[in-house]
Each structure stands twice: as C-alpha cells, then as structure tokens.
C-alpha cells in the first residue's frame, strides 16, 4: 500500500505514514491483549510476564544487546521477503536461502588460512550472498520458463537446502562412512564445521560478552540500499510495476521474465547475506541446529513492516525484543516461552487479515489503499 500510485492526490506524507503504522500497531496491541488472556486462562501472571519481557529486551545493556543482535538476521530475511513481495512474488524460501548463504560463507571462512582480513572477510560475505542469490534465482527461473509457482518451489528448496547443509557436515567419519566435506575432523561424532578463521569473522562491537558484531551496520546498509533500489532506480520501478500488474508491465516493454528472476535473486542474496552475517559474526561455525527458522520469521516481519524497508526495521525491532525478552520473562514469571510464539503468530494473523483489525476498531479504508496487503498478483495470473 505504500506503493500507492504517485498520480493520485497524496493524502500527505505524515498522514500516509500514520495510516501505514495504524494496522500493524493495532495488530500488535490486539495480539498482546489476546496473549494476556491466554496467560490468564492458563493460570499465569500476564503482568509479570510482560514486565519481564520488557525488562529482558530493554531493561539493561545486555538486554539491548540481545535485542539488537536478534534484529540483524530479522532485518535481512524480512527485506528478502519484502523485496519479493514488491514484484508480486511470495518468497517462502528465505529459510533455504539463509542456509545456503551460511554454507557458502562458512566454506570460505574455514579455508584459505593466511588471507588478510581485508580480503577474507569480504570474500566470505560475498560468497554468502552468491549462495543465497543462486538458490533464490532457481524458483525465479522455474517460474518464468516452466510456470512452476514460486511458493511451491521455494518451500521444497528449503528442504533440499537443509538436507544439503546437513550432509556437508555429516560426521560419518567416526562410523567409517564418508563424512561431509565441511565436517570438523576433530569434532568426533559431532556433526559440525570447524570454527571460522579469525580473519573471516565480523569483529565484535563493545565487549565480546555483549555478542554484538559489525553485522548490524551491514544490515542497516542493506536497508538503505534496498530502499534506494526499490524507490529511486529504474530497476525498482520495474520491480514494482511487475508486482502491480504483470501484463501491463509486459505491455509497457518491461522485461518481466528478467525482472522476476532478478528479484528472486536479490531476495535470495539478502537471505544468504543474513546467513553469512549470522555465521561470521555470531555462530562462527555451522551445525545443523543453526537452521533457517529465521527465514520463516522474515515472512511475518515483511508483512508487519508493510513490505517497506523502514517498516521491516521497525518490525524487526519488535520481533528482536520479543525473542530477547523471552529468556528473562521465563525467569521472572515462569511463563513458558511458547507465549512468545503465540503472540508472534497472532500478529501475523492480524496483519495478514487486516479486515479483522478494521472491523474490530472500525477503521475505514482510504480509496488509495488496497485490501490484502501485498500478497498481490502472485496467485492470480502470470
């Protein structure tokens, strides 16, 4: 809806921002109230839980650190899904692209000992982007040339990526079978890669115990870059036009096929960058338990952020805070962390179905606003 055609009379910049924030904020409030009801019904103290949640996310330097640390992959996978939405594509594959970015960057990160950091680190990051971009481009290519729907293909490629990544670190060596190529030979029966070399690690900001790394600047740079790309360049205009009406775009002379593949490649590259940054900045290795769940969170974050790059930052802040606060919430109130997932799921439900929120709070639609957020043309026709 932020893409409302510039030809129509604009309702004013601030008013537009207000309208854009209205539904997500109300969705969040409603989800929090519903979460409180759930806690009340299951005999928990919702007040203690929410206070603990807030204190855990913002109540201390460590809390802030955890919130920011968790925002980094959320921003990048959220951008990934949001960019695809702009072209009317539903990228459910951020999870698999994240995993492929991880594997590609870790491959560079654990090899090439002796390279200076100025070469090694950027190389590992670029490989992460390339890994994700290639993985993202596959559903784009299949959609263009075979008509295979990107939702189905990306979902299936998530499984392929997860299994591929598991194979690369498979610890078969300890059982006399062929081990995976990235498996750490000193890890015994444990399936994981060796640690990423120091020259390929994103340095920590502040004290290492805060575990915040320079990836935060990479994520913010990506936000600005994507905003510029989508709203200030020809490519971005083409992406948005394809998203609004594929047939009209084709008629207008836009290379629709190329744009679809390019958009999926960019989306995949962003998710791959998320995987690279998480690996090189935080985990310092790959093991199967570092899966791509964050790629699925990206869908909620993109929708909650109204598929706008700056909205993605705000919703990442929210989700980062919810996840960061969960630990202290459990400690203070003994409420199960499952409540966090309930709240996140409710937020998604309310944002994806804005009718509920509109009906609940009796918000009228502006003529410039379309109903379903951004799921766009993907299902209808291509």
């Amino acid at each position: 809806m932020a893409t409302a055609s510039p030809a129509l009379p604009s309702p004013g910049r601030y008013r537009r921002i207000f309208r854009g924030l209205l539904i997500p904020v109300l969705a969040l409030l409603t989800a929090l109230v519903a979460g409180a009801l759930v806690m009340h019904l299951s005999g928990d103290n919702a007040q203690d839980a929410y206070i603990g949640l807030f204190k855990g996310a913002f109540g201390s330097a460590k809390g802030w650190a955890a919130t920011i640390r968790k925002m980094i992959p959320f921003i990048l996978t959220g951008l990934s899904v949001a960019v695809a939405f702009k072209a009317g594509l539903f990228n459910i594959g951020a999870s698999g692209q994240f995993v492929m970015g991880t594997v590609f960057s870790v491959f560079i990160g654990i090899n090439f000992e002796g390279l200076p950091m100025a070469i090694h680190l950027p190389l590992a990051i670029v490989f992460g982007i390339v890994g994700g971009a290639l993985w993202g481009a596959i559903p784009g290519i299949l959609k263009v040339y075979t008509g295979a729907h990107e939702v189905i293909v990306t979902i299936m490629l998530n499984y392929v990526a997860a299994l591929f990544a598991g194979w690369t670190v498979y610890a078969g060596g300890s059982q006399g079978q062929t081990p995976g190529p990235l498996w750490d030979r000193t890890a015994g029966p444990i399936s994981e890669t060796p640690d990423v070399l120091a020259s390929a690690r994103l340095p920590y900001l502040f004290d290492p115990s805060y575990r915040i790394h320079y990836g935060v600047f990479i994520a913010l740079a990506a936000v600005v870059f994507i905003w510029w790309l989508i709203y200030k360049t020809t490519i971005g205009f083409e992406i948005r036009t394809v998203g609004q009406n594929m047939k009209a775009a084709r008629y207008a002379g836009i290379r629709v096929n190329w744009t679809v593949i390019l958009t999926m490649g960019i989306a995949g590259g962003l998710a791959g960058l998320a995987g690279a940054v998480e690996t090189l900045g935080l985990n310092h290795k790959f093991a199967p338990e570092f899966g791509g769940q964050v790629g699925f969170d990206g869908i909620t974050i993109a929708l909650l952020g109204q598929t706008h790059p700056f909205g993605v930052v705000l919703s990442s802040l929210l989700f980062g805070a919810l996840d960061a606060g969960a630990s202290k919430m459990q400690f203070d109130s003994r409420v199960s962390a499952d409540i966090i997932q309930i709240i996140q799921a409710l937020v998604l439900a309310f944002v994806a179905a804005p009718m509920i929120i509109r009906a609940l709070y009796r918000i009228k639609r502006l003529p410039t606003e379309s109903e379903s957020t951004s799921l766009g043309t993907s299902w209808g026709g291509s």
Partner: protein, 362 residues
C-alpha cells in the same frame, strides 16, 4: 448498534488490560532491577547475591526441546526436582528456562548467572560449547552438562554422559535372543546426533554377538535435525516396512519418532519392541502390548546425585558416567526365558568390567 456495542466492549477490555499491566509496574520490579544492575557490571562476582542468600538455587536450561518432552529434557528436570526434594529445598529454589533458538543458550544461562544461582544444569550435547564458556567465566558456579563429553576437565563443570552403545548392546542381545524370524529392526532419529548412532552401533553389535548371521534392518530418519525426533508417522511407517520384511523385534530410538514405531509394533500380534532413554512402559503406555524393555540412560538419578554432590561440597569436574542399562521387563517377566536373563546379566557385567567391547567409537 450491535457492532457499535461490541467494539466499545473490546476497547474497554483493551484499556483495562493495559491499565492492569501498567499500574503496579513501578512498584514491583524495583528490587529486582537493583539486584540485577550490579551483577551486570561484574558478571563473575558472587558477593552480592550469594552472600545475602545462603540458600541453594538450581537452574536448568533446555536445548530447543521442552521440559515435558518425555525424553531427556524432562528426565533432567525430574532429576532437579528429585534433588530439590532430597535436599529439602523450596519450589522457588529451582527454575528452568526453555530455549527457543540455539543461539540463546548463553543468554539463558546468563539469567541464572546474574541471579547468583549455585548450580546450572544444561541439557543436551548442543549446549556443550556454551556451557564450557560459561564455566570458564564463572568459576564460582557449578555446571552440570547432560550428554556433554568433556575434552578437558574443568573443576566446576561435570559432563554427565552415558554409554549409549552399551545399553544399545544389551537391547541388541535381548532382541536377537527373542526373535524367531532371525530378522530384527531399529527405527532411529537422525545420524547427525551422536548418541543415536551409538545406540544403533551397540544394538547391531549386541545382536551379532548372539547370532552372527542375524539380519538387522536399521533405518535413520532421513530428515533434518528439527524433524528427525518429532515424526511419529515416519516412525510407524518405517516399523511397518521392517515388519513386512520379516522383523519381529523392533528397537525404537529417536524421541517421538521412535515412539511412533513402538506404537505401530504394538498393533501387531506377537511382535516385540524395545524403547529408549527412559522406561517407556511409563511414558508410552500405548506400546505396552509389545514393550519387553527399554535401553535406558538413567538421567534422573545421575542429575540428582551430581546436584547433591554439589550441595555437599563433593563436586568434581570432568566426565561422569551415568548408569546405562535395560529397564525391567514388566509384564514380559514370564515370557523372557531365564537363560536370556542370565545372558543379559553376564553381558552387563562384561560391559562394565571392559571384557566385552561394543566396538563403537574405536
């Protein structure tokens, strides 16, 4: 009019909920945040919280499972509760945090560290690295790592580990002794997790020690790690397949996936199944028609004993081997021949004194 009223009702609810949540906020948490602040500045320091609270506090951090998983998170938590009862502690002295994301292990341990807990139990080999780091940074806190092998011993970190291959070996001996068809099966979680592999390798070796020509159909879940232990349908289908190929004893080792296999076998007349980790006679009642035993890791007493040792000042770091063995035969006590029981006793003795090797890990 009707929609109008319900909207107002909802708004009222919203406002009252917010007011409820907001009102006493300033009063309650002050004491807490004061206590938390100094701990933040000096994480390793024990003076403030420990000195004013002479009581003994135990925290537990799960892996990405839940404390009611009927498997090792639950067993470890029950071990904490047993220690709480044994030591006469109150309910407030023990607490757990369930981990949502593999990257949060350090944060979750940090809650207990900052609050001045005396003992922190971490469950699962995936927490190994984070636990070692926390133990290094907090020499005054004692850590217990369930399923965590210690390469170098730290004085304040005990890795509670089990010879899964040995209890798997006993299960294999039992299975090979009870089969009529000469074909037995194992339905397993993923081979990305070492203890699962150990169970299977031990099972095969044990079966071959009874009958070198035995046919063992063992199948690992092919999925990713987050799927492999929570897929009872796959477990049931795989058990069914093995039964169709003639298997008449099935070992189910892999969380809920393995439970699915046990439940499938229970629907077939005259077949046997063997459970894993805990005595599954209690945890999976649906498997009772076929369940002749379980290859157990005795986590509950293992955790409880380590906590008691910590409380009494007898704690020592490094690897601590918990007891592993077969659960009781329950209703099959009379079905299992005495010579098989004798064989299991001598095999257990042989494994314990090292005269029998399972061949795993060499």
């Amino acid at each position: 009019m009707r929609t109008f009223r319900s909207t107002w009702l909802f708004a009222l609810l919203l406002i009252s909920a917010l007011v409820l949540a907001a009102c006493p906020a300033p009063a309650a948490p002050v004491a807490d945040s004061d206590a938390a602040a100094p701990a933040e500045a000096a994480p390793a320091a024990t003076e403030a919280p420990a000195a004013e609270a002479p009581d003994f506090k135990i925290g537990l951090v799960t892996d990405v499972g839940r404390v009611n998983d009927r498997s090792f998170n639950q067993s470890a938590w029950e071990g904490v509760l047993k220690a709480q009862a044994d030591l006469g502690l109150t309910e407030d002295d023990v607490k757990y945090i369930e981990t949502q994301d593999a990257k949060d292990y350090a944060d979750n341990m940090g809650q207990f560290i900052d609050a001045g807990y005396n003992v922190i139990v971490t469950v699962g080999f995936a927490l190994g690295d984070a636990t070692i780091e926390a133990a290094n940074n907090n020499p005054d806190i004692l850590f217990i790592g369930v399923d965590q092998f210690q390469g170098e011993a730290l004085p304040n970190l005990a890795g509670l580990i089990f010879h899964e291959d040995q209890s798997g070996y006993l299960a294999g001996v039992l299975a090979a002794s009870m089969t009529d068809s000469g074909t037995i099966a194992a339905v397993l979680g993923t081979d990305l997790v070492p203890p699962v592999v150990a169970f299977n390798e031990g099972y095969i070796a044990g079966a071959k020690s009874v009958n070198p020509d035995i046919n063992v159909i063992s199948t690992y879940h092919p999925g990713e790690i987050s799927q492999a232990f929570v897929d009872p349908e796959w477990g049931a289908a795989t058990a069914k397949q093995a039964i169709d190929q003639g298997a008449d004893v099935v070992f189910g080792a892999g969380g809920i996936t393995g439970n699915g296999a046990l439940q499938e076998v229970a629907t077939h007349e005259g077949l046997y199944c063997i459970g894993v980790d805990t005595d599954q006679w209690d945890t999976v009642p649906a498997a009772q028609p076929c369940l002749i035993s379980s290859a157990m890791k005795l986590i509950v007493p293992g955790v409880a004993e380590l906590i008691t040792a910590a409380h009494d000042g007898n704690f020592s770091g490094g690897n601590v081997f918990g007891a592993a063995g077969l659960a009781s035969f329950h209703d099959f006590e009379s079905v299992i021949p005495q010579e098989v029981k004798d064989l299991l006793v001598t095999t257990k003795a042989g494994l314990d004194d090292g005269s029998i090797s399972t061949g795993y890990g060499n």
